[in-house]
Amino acid sequence: MALRRTRSSSITLAAAGIAIAFTAAACGSSSSGGNAAVNSGSTSSSNLPAYCGGASGSGKVLVGASNFAENITLADIYVDVLKGCGYDASEKTFASREAYYPLVTKGKIQVIPEYAATLTDFINDAKNGPNAPSKASGDINTTIANLKAELPSTLAVLNPAAATDRNAFAVQTKFATANHITTLSQLAAYSQSHPLTLAGPPECPTRAFCEPGLEKTYGMKIAHFQQTDEDGPLTRKALTSGKAQVGLVFSSDGDLSGLGLTVLTDDKDLQASDNIVPLVASSLATGAAANALNAVSAKLDQATLVALNKAVVVDKGTSQQVADQFVAQELS
C-alpha cells in the first residue's frame, strides 16, 4: 500500500508536468478566429504578415495590461501582431501602473500599451518626488522626448499613436444641467457649499491627476472618496446611482452619454493629453516587434480607438474578438 501511495502521487505530479508542457505549447499556438494568429509559430519570413516589416521574431514576450477594457483590448492587439511575427506572446492583467511598472523595469514584462503623459509624470514623480513639476506637455513630441530622457536604458518607447485618451471627470447630465455646470471650475464652486463624493480607482487619493489635483488645482471640496475601479462598471454605477457626484473616466469612452453622464471641461488643464504609446524592453526596440507595434500605432487614430472601445463595452465583443477583427481589418 505504501508503494502504491508513493507511486500514485508521483503519477499525479508527472501528469501535472505534462499538463504544464501542454499549456506552454497551447499558449504559443493560435487564438480564436484571428487572422494574425493563423501565422503564429511560423517563422519563415515569406509567410509573415506585412506589419512585421520583413523581419521575424522569436522567444517569449509577456504583454502586460491594466485592468480596464481599452487597455486589455490594446494588449490583445499587441499579442496578436507579436504572435503574427513569430513571437511566443502572452498576456497578463494588473490592477494599476504601480502594480506592473516595477515588473517592467525588472524585465519580467516586455510590452505594455501605455499612455505617454501619465507615464512621463509617473516616472518623473517616482524619481523626483510627487511635487516635481510635470514633464508632460500638450505637444506629444515634447512629451515623448522628455519621456525618453527619463526612461531607464533597459526600456524604450516606440511611436505614439494619434489616438489619445485622457483622464476626465464625469457627472450626471441631469445634475450638470440643473446646476449649470459644464466645467470643473464650476463644479469646484458648487462644491464649496455642497462637498462632493468622488468615485475613482484605489490609487486616486494619491495620484496627482486625481483627488489631490482636483483639490489643489481647482480647490474642489471633496467630502468622501468612494473607491471604485479604473474607468469601469463600478465608477459608472457610483455615478448613475448617485453614490458619487463626480467620477474619474476616460475621454475615449464610448458609452457615457448612453448612461446619462457628461464629461466636464478640464478648464485648468489638470490632465495632459495622453497618446497611446507602446512601452517595450530595449531588446524589442528594433526588429519585428517594433515594426509590428508601430504599425498598430499608425492605424490607431481617435475614431478607431473610440470604435474599439465601443465594440467591447457597448457592442459586447470580447476584447479578443475585437482585437482579432482589428488586426484582420486594419493591418492586412
Partner: protein, 228 residues
C-alpha cells in the same frame, strides 16, 4: 478623421446566457479551462505532499497536534484575496502567487481529514498488527493509512472542490484561469462572458467531485454501498 475602411464591429447582444458565445469562443474557454485545472492540480498536489508528513508528525505528541491544528486555524483565517496579494510581492509573475495560498488552504483541509481518518482507525486492527510484530512506522504505512484512506480521499474531494472555487480570486492578480476571464468580463461589462465562466467554474467543480467520487469507490471497494 475616419480611416478609408473604418473599423466596424458587428453588434452582439449581451444576454445572460448564450450558446453562440460558447461555440464562438471555444478556444479561449479551452485554454482558460486548462489553466484552471493545472492551478487546481498543482495546489492540491502540493498541499497533499506537505499534509502527509505534517499529519504524521502531529500524531507524535499532543502538543505538536494542537500546535498544528492551531496553525491550521490561523492559515484558514487569512482571506484568499489578502493571501494572493501578499504573495505577489514575493513570487511576482510565477503561478506560485496563486498556488502557495491555495496549497495552504488544501493543506489545512487535508491535515484535518488525515488526522480524523487516522483517529478513526480501529484500535483492534492496530493491536493485531502489533501482535504480528510490526513496527510503529510499518503499522502507520500498512494499516493506519489504508484504513484512513476513505476519509483522506473525502478530504481530497473537499480540497479540490474548494480550490476550484478559490482559483477565481487569482484573476485579481492576472492569473486565475476562469477567474481572469471573470475579471476581464467585469472590465468589459459583459454579462454573457461573466455568467459563462461562473457556470463553468461550478460545472468544473461538479465534474471533479463526480470523478473523485468514482475514484474513491474504485480504490476503496470495501466501502461500496456506504454513504460517501
Amino acid at each position: 478623421m475616419r480611416l478609408p475602411r473604418g473599423f466596424t464591429f458587428h453588434k452582439q447582444g449581451d444576454p445572460w446566457l448564450s450558446w453562440h458565445y460558447i461555440t464562438s469562443n471555444s478556444h479561449a474557454i479551452l485554454s482558460a479551462t486548462q489553466t484552471h485545472v493545472i492551478l487546481t492540480v498543482e495546489s492540491v498536489a502540493l498541499g497533499l505532499l506537505v499534509a502527509l508528513p505534517v499529519a504524521a508528525l502531529a500524531r507524535q505528541r499532543e502538543w505538536l497536534r494542537s500546535t498544528v491544528l492551531n496553525l491550521c486555524t490561523a492559515v484558514y483565517a487569512i482571506p484568499s484575496l489578502a493571501f494572493v496579494v501578499a504573495m505577489i510581492k514575493i513570487f511576482e509573475l510565477s503561478s506560485l502567487t496563486v498556488v502557495i495560498p491555495l496549497a495552504s488552504y488544501s493543506l489545512v483541509i487535508l491535515v484535518r481529514n488525515i488526522l480524523t481518518g487516522l483517529d478513526e482507525v480501529d484500535a483492534q486492527a492496530v493491536d493485531a498488527a502489533r501482535g504480528m510484530g510490526m513496527s510503529n512506522a510499518r503499522i502507520l504505512i500498512r494499516v493506519r493509512l489504508p484504513m484512513a484512506l476513505p476519509t483522506v480521499v473525502a478530504g481530497i474531494r473537499l480540497a479540490v472542490v474548494s480550490t476550484i472555487e478559490l482559483v477565481v480570486i487569482g484573476g485579481y492578480v492576472g492569473q486565475g484561469g476562469y477567474g481572469s476571464k471573470i475579471f476581464e468580463a467585469f472590465s468589459n461589462r459583459s454579462h454573457t462572458e461573466m455568467t459563462t465562466y461562473i457556470l463553468l467554474t461550478v460545472l468544473l467543480a461538479l465534474v471533479a467531485d463526480g470523478l473523485l467520487l468514482a475514484l474513491q469507490r474504485v480504490i476503496t471497494p470495501w466501502r461500496r454501498g456506504v454513504a460517501a
